[in-house]
Structure formats: C-alpha cells, structure tokens
C-alpha cells in the first residue's frame, strides 16, 4: 500500500503546483479583465489611444510588469494547464451531459484554444512576438498615436487573402469568448479549490455572481472585438487619434506596410 503523505517536498510539490496554477490563473485573469476594458474603448479611438498612452507611461517599468504580472503567470498557467487536461482524464460530456460536466469540458477546450490564440495574438501584436518571429510585412502594433489603427489592421486585414482575414476575425472572436468563459468559470472553480465556497448552495450563489461577471466580460470582450474587427477603420486619420501631435509622416509609415 502506498502511503499518502505530505511531509516531503516531493509530496508537497504537487499541491504547490496546483495552487500556483490556480493563483496564476487568477492573476492572468485580472490582467484580462483590464485588457478587455481597455480594448472595449476601441469604439472611441481617441479614448483608446489615451488608455494605451496611459499604460505606456509606465515605461521603463512596463517590461518588468509585463513579465511579472502577465507573461510568467500566463505561461505557468498555460503549461501546467495543458498538462492537467491530459493527466489521465477521460472526458464524458456526451454520457453525462450535466451542466457542471459541460462547463468542465468547455473549460479545457477553451484553455487549449486560448493557448493557441494567445500565442498568435502575442506573436502578431506584441513587439517581442514580432521581434522573436522576425515576421516581415506584418502590420506592427504602434503604440504611439497609431495604437487604434495598427490594431484594426492586425485584427481585420493582416493578410492579402480575404479568406485568411475573415478567418483571423473569427479566430479573434473565438479567442475572446474562450478567454471570457475560461476566466469566469475559472473564477467559479477557484472559489471551490481554495475553499471559499464550501457548500453546494454557496457554490451556486457564487456561480450566479461569476455568471454575471462573465456576461459583463462577454459584453466588453465582444465590444472590443467589434470595435476593431467590425467597425474598425484602419485608415482613420492620425489626427483623430493622436495625443502627442505626431503627424502625417507616421501615417505614411503605417500605410507603407500594406
């Protein structure tokens, strides 16, 4: 009989990993909340630019914050998460199609989709991603004055093929919704995992709260998506977004990439 114990580091590692995974999810979720808030302001290009400027005013601390509060939590959560989805589990949503089981299964699908989506998202819209991949000719995110236009371009029409662009648009919607679901549902399960909600009744109540939160996130996320992917105008004059007065030269620069 193998004894279950909790005295050695090896025995505690598993617990620690799981709880770190959960914690990192919460940290990354907090970032996502902010990210969707900011991007929802994409409906108002100038406001959006202001928000981006606000974030970039954190330089030179920004990379540190990005690494510590976003990238590390995200990577830890994603890598261990992928491991969890495969750790000897057996999905049975079709046999036992209860709400909880459907959410459980969707949580994992959403997680996998998110890994792919976020990888693409960073690769194409983050300066490190582009630098890392060295992609030529891809619309670059331009934080200064052109945050809105460059984002629209990256989301809506990055490729020459119209089909590919439509695919990207839908990929963004799928990714956004996956993020919203994964985050809201993760908030619900985290409360059980950490022992905040200890009864079926409290889990249900907290479930309603998470559901409400999820709906807010869904509205924000979908708004953000629509702002860039549907109503977004890549050719909006910089004068309408600029906050620091840079002009046509930069505009040309952006156009030159097409």
């Amino acid at each position: 009989m193998t004894k279950f114990g909790f005295d050695t580091i090896a025995e505690q590692r598993h617990f620690l990993l799981r709880r770190i995974h959960s914690l990192m999810g919460l940290v990354f979720g907090a970032y996502i909340t902010m990210h969707l808030f900011v991007n929802a302001t994409g409906l108002w290009p100038k406001a959006y630019q202001q928000n981006v400027d606000h974030i970039h005013s954190l330089e030179p601390m920004l990379p540190l914050i990005e690494i510590g509060a976003i990238f590390v939590p995200m990577l830890l959560h994603a890598i261990y998460g992928i491991y969890i989805t495969k750790a000897g589990v057996k999905y049975n949503m079709m046999k036992y199609n209860y709400g909880g089981n459907i959410r459980y299964t969707m949580q994992r699908w959403a997680g996998v989709i998110l890994v792919l989506f976020v990888a693409y998202h960073i690769a194409t819209l983050h300066k490190w991603g582009l630098a890392l991949l060295g992609v030529q000719g891809f619309p670059k995110f331009d934080a200064q004055n052109m945050a809105y236009q460059s984002t629209v371009r990256a989301v809506r029409s990055p490729y020459r093929s119209q089909l590919a662009n439509i695919a990207v648009i839908f990929f963004y919607l799928l990714g956004t919704w996956s993020a919203v679901f994964h985050w809201a549902n993760g908030l619900w399960t985290a409360a059980i995992a950490w022992g905040l909600t200890t009864t079926a009744a409290s889990q249900k109540r907290w479930g309603h709260v998470c559901c409400g939160f999820g709906i807010v996130m869904l509205v924000l996320g979908t708004t953000a998506w629509a702002a860039f992917a549907i109503v977004g105008n890549p050719d909006l004059p910089v004068s309408q977004t600029t906050t620091s007065g840079l002009g046509q030269a930069q505009m040309n620069d952006v156009n030159g990439h097409r």
Partner: protein, 271 residues
C-alpha cells in the same frame, strides 16, 4: 401464505407485452476481449434490471436462441444500500436493482422499447462480465485512516456528545455505500491516474468532523493533499448528480479545499 399470488398482481396500466431486450457487454476474463450478447426476456410487471438478469440466469439463452453461460454480476441487498450491483445501464452508472423496467417502457408508448444496454463499470478492471474490481476504493479508505481511533473495546462510557446538526451532516456522509458511481462518472478518475475522487473527500470530512476523529485529522487531510488528492478535482460535479444516496459531495469537496488551504498555510508558518 400465498406470496406468489400477490407478486403477480396485474399492472394498473396495460403495457404492451413486448419482451424485454437486454444488450449486455460481456467479458470472459480480465485479459479477454469484450463481446456483446443480446437477450430477450418475457415481460412481467414490476420488474427491475436485476430480475431480468435473474431470468437470464435460469434460462441462459441469447435472443438468437444460442445457449450461453449465465451473465455474471455482483448483487446482494437488491434495495440499493449495499452498492454491489453498480453497472452502466443505458450509458449511466447506477444500481441494477433500482432501475425499474416499467418507467423505461412507459416512455415508449405503444412502440417496442429499445434494448436496454448494460455494461460493466469502465473505471475499474473487469473481472468477468459485469463484475469489476473495486478494491481501489477500499484501499483508499485505508490510506485516509477511515476510522475513529478509539482506545479499545472495553467499556469506557458513552462517546462524546454530538449536536443534532452535526449528526445530520455526519449521517448524510455515512450513507456512502462505496458503490463507485461518483468515480465512474468523474472525468478526473481513470485507471491511469491515482485520483481518489469524491467518495474519499466525503469520508475525510466525515471522520474529521467527529470529535474523536480530531486526533488523526491532520493525517487524514494530508492524505488528500498530494497527487491524486483534492487539488486534482476538476469540478465537473458529475459525482453529486449520479450519487444514488444524494450525499452532499459538493459540500465535502468544498470543505476539503478549505481545509487543505488552511492546513497548508498553518503548516508553512508553524511547522
């Protein structure tokens, strides 16, 4: 006493006398390949799956008229308190004794009812036919010290007083018959991993809530804090849906999470 007469009272609503058709997944030995056999049993009112299996025992002939061996299955109490006859019936894990035939047929109206599909539990090794080896559940009870550590059996007066609310809570958990439904339905519980599942979380809570269980409470808790323990619960919550005894398993899981959190913090700072 003419017991036989009273069991054969005519049904209140006339149901078409279609025979009961069972499709059973059989397996001769643990290492043999499974195969399917179909049986057709004359309908009688008020039957359950167990009584159909009993009919097959006394006349082990398939629907095609081929002689075969009686289907082997575990059974004991036949009133859903022993947990023996757990199997997968029409895709869902349940006790054969409490699956009644009439309600299944009532849904079909006058059409011939579809065959009832019966399989052994899939998360435990098959011994033969519908018999599986659930030793893992009992072994896990040992690992969590599933007992109250009393001094001995000589008389020492009554046990500690328990308030009725706590008794209520304890009683609900104490009805677990180790049938394995919660584990069969749990996507996290598989032959390939060491996950202990809802059954065990509930038992840890059960013993830890009892005043006498306090002595071993930390050990019990730590037993579910490692790999295969409470952190591996994915909250699919099928367990509570399929539990035939309506044990508040979600409460036990939530309790385990909280206890583990508090215990880990305590351990980090004070040991």
């Amino acid at each position: 006493m003419t017991t036989a007469d009273s069991t054969k009272t005519p049904p209140t609503s006339p149901l078409p006398p279609f025979p009961i058709v069972l499709r059973i997944k059989r397996q001769d030995r643990p290492d043999a390949a499974p195969y399917w056999q179909t049986f057709s049993v004359p309908y009688r009112p008020n039957m359950n799956v167990t009584s159909v299996l009993q009919q097959i025992q006394s006349n082990p002939v398939t629907a095609n008229g081929e002689k075969t061996s009686p289907v082997n299955y575990d059974a004991a109490c036949l009133e859903e308190v022993c947990g023996s006859c757990t199997m997968i019936i029409n895709g869902k894990v349940q006790q054969a004794c409490s699956v009644l035939i009439d309600p299944l047929r009532a849904k079909c109206g006058n059409a011939p009812p579809p065959p009832i599909i019966i399989e052994p539990m899939s998360k435990f090794p098959v011994i033969r036919d519908l018999i599986v080896d659930r030793t893992r559940m009992f072994e896990n009870l040992k690992r969590i010290k599933g007992w109250l550590p009393i001094d001995g059996y000589y008389h020492r007066g009554p046990g500690p007083k328990v308030d009725p609310q706590t008794q209520d809570e304890l009683y609900d958990m104490s009805r677990c018959m180790t049938c394995g439904c919660c584990l069969e339905a749990c996507p996290q519980f598989t032959k390939a991993n060491t996950f202990v599942g809802a059954q065990i979380f509930s038992q840890v809570k059960y013993f830890n809530l009892h005043p006498t269980g306090q002595a071993d409470a930390d050990e019990r808790l730590e037993a579910i804090m490692g790999e295969g323990g409470i952190t591996d619960c994915g909250n699919a919550q099928n367990c509570v849906k399929v539990c035939p005894k309506d044990i508040p398993l979600l409460d036990s899981i939530g309790w385990s999470g909280r206890a583990a959190t508090i215990h880990s913090i305590k351990k980090f700072f004070s040991k």
